[in-house]
Amino acid sequence: MPRFRAKPSSFIAPATVALVTALLIAIPFERSNGDTSGVISFLVSFLTFVAIYAIFTLGLNVQWGYSGVFNFGVLGFFMLGAYTAAIVTKEPASGSFTDYIGGFGGDLNLLPWLSSEQWLPHLVGLAAAAGVAGLVALLLSVTALRLRDDYLAIATIGVAEVLRRVVIEETWLVNGTRGLTGIPRPLGGLVGSTDYKYLLLAICGGFLVLTYFLIERAIRSPWGRVLMALREDEMATEASGKNVFAFKMQSFVMGAAIMGAGGAIYAYASSSLTPEVFTHFFATFLFWAMLILGGSGNNRGAIVGAYVLWGFWTITLQFQSYDLPDLLQTRMPYIRELVLGGLIVAVLLLRPAGLLPQRRQVSIWVERQLRRRPAAPAGSPTEGASSNR
């Protein structure tokens, strides 16, 4: 039971973060010959996407990290959210090369005296994205959620792939492979285009913080305790009088809604969507890798995992710009994937709990009670290493 062995050393997480951060600054600095403003805009756009990807990782953490619900179709909810937000905020389709449904952007300027065209469509799009993804998860849970872990994983991959094919083949729906461009940016008219990246980072980062607090509050409570219990043993949870299926469904739907919202933010930040972006590798596997690396069952771990893994992915992309021998240069994309795979295996073998392991107490109130009533035997109540009785 490596999960329950003595406390893992606590310097690895900060050391990893520091190493990734150092490389993220040093390599662009060296490549751009010391152009500070270039490095800063690189970092700003990097952090913006880390914030977005961390939202998906948090959603997956609700499902897998806390409840043990094996969703291998993050892609599906990501796409649903992104395209829903896009067709809500855009103007109706026009011209012979574009064809898509929706386009309510202009109709949503309901509070013109507050310049609502700058933000109201985006809020509606965000809510719609979360709602559609949540609704699909709800429908899916009626059928698929009673499946055992591995079968649920297969079912979710299947659903994600079906959604992807629909987006590609049904060109009337969201313009097929030509994609959607010109998705209006939130608060886009407020600042000049050179400074917009800072505002975008603030929006994405702000939404991440909000998501984090909502999830953390919900999880570190009796609600999260039931989810955790059903991750550990569904039968024992049922025998403790909990309606296991209802909780599983709540977890699945909430996680999916968060992923849908993440998709909306992604659409706003990148301002164009094409189906080629939505590969199973990028839109499902990478988020799993982020969560496993950061620590399943720890929301901060999920965020740190997104930072470290996307950092790794970005740094290794930079390596390609160096004058490497041909043998390496041509194989670099595959070497990256190979190293990523090796990294995940290494984490699972050496540090299965991830960079930031789950907290010992689920409920925040239990932690507070324990602080007031320290345990009689030696050892701190929240972080004491387990004795091997």
Partner: protein, 261 residues
């Protein structure tokens, strides 16, 4: 109704359950009287654990009825049977490994406001009050089963016997009326066993909980149970005190085979 005139808290009425071609429970009928500690014994494969699974709703019977205080409970899912006050432990302990001993217990109390997701978001003081009450209750229960010193350990690190005690402790976190114990003595050392017997008797005496116990250890059955029911091949074979059961030819035959008749 049983012989001594007390009301039956649990009645199993002609229950049948098959798995493929195997009739695990085959027209079984029995009653457990209120306030008793009733033992359920029988050879391996007699259908005892299957019967427990049926009573607690984890399996649906193919036919027959389960009555708890004269109400049918067999159509209900397990968590609703739990709410009636019918609790169980598992033969192989099913502790929640990645949670502390304390929170293994704090999971159990029914009707926690904090289990509805908007309460921890918006109505935190109500959740806080309940959490404090459940915390205190869990500490009391842990003291009762003498696991207090392990409250902050992950349940995975407990010994086999301690896990058995944790299973029992779980049933004490709410107002149980009837507790079904599946081999509470298996894997428990003698000292702990004595304690277990004392605990169960105390709970019956002080709170009036009825116990229905599967057990292979006849010493434990002798110490604990006032009535014993013998099951064999999915049917009830005999019911009575342990002494009566011991003299019953059919029981010896079921356990040892026909040659000892």
């Amino acid at each position: 109704m049983t012989g001594d005139g007390t009301a039956a808290i649990l009645a199993v009425d002609n229950v049948t359950k098959s798995f493929g071609g195997l009739r695990a429970v085959d027209g079984c009928s029995l009653t457990v009287s209120e306030g008793s500690i009733t033992g359920l014994i029988g050879p391996n494969g007699a259908g005892k654990t299957t019967l427990f699974n049926i009573v607690t709703g984890f399996l649906k019977p193919d036919s027959g009825r389960i009555l708890f205080r004269d109400d049918r409970i067999d159509p209900l899912p397990p968590h609703q049977i739990f709410r009636q006050g019918v609790l169980r432990t598992f033969q192989i302990p099913r502790e929640l490994k990645g949670m502390t001993v304390l929170e293994n217990l704090m999971l159990v109390p029914p009707g926690q406001a904090g289990e509805t997701v908007w309460n921890p978001w918006f109505f935190r003081s109500r959740v806080a009050r309940q959490e404090e009450a459940n915390f205190v209750k869990a500490l009391e229960v842990l003291e009762f089963v003498e696991l207090g010193h392990l409250r902050d350990e992950y349940a995975a690190t407990l010994s086999g016997g301690q896990k058995k005690l944790l299973e029992l402790a779980r049933t004490l976190m709410c107002d149980a009326r009837l507790i079904l114990l599946d081999e509470p003595g298996a894997g428990v050392n003698r000292v702990l066993m004595k304690k277990l017997v004392a605990d169960i008797e105390r709970l019956r005496r002080e709170i009036g909980i009825t116990f229905f116990v599967i057990e292979h250890d006849m010493d434990l059955v002798a110490q604990l149970c006032d009535t014993v029911i013998v099951m064999s091949e999915g049917k009830t074979l005999a019911q009575g005190t342990l002494d009566e059961i011991k003299r019953d030819d059919r029981v010896l035959q079921a356990y040892l085979g026909g040659q000892y008749r």
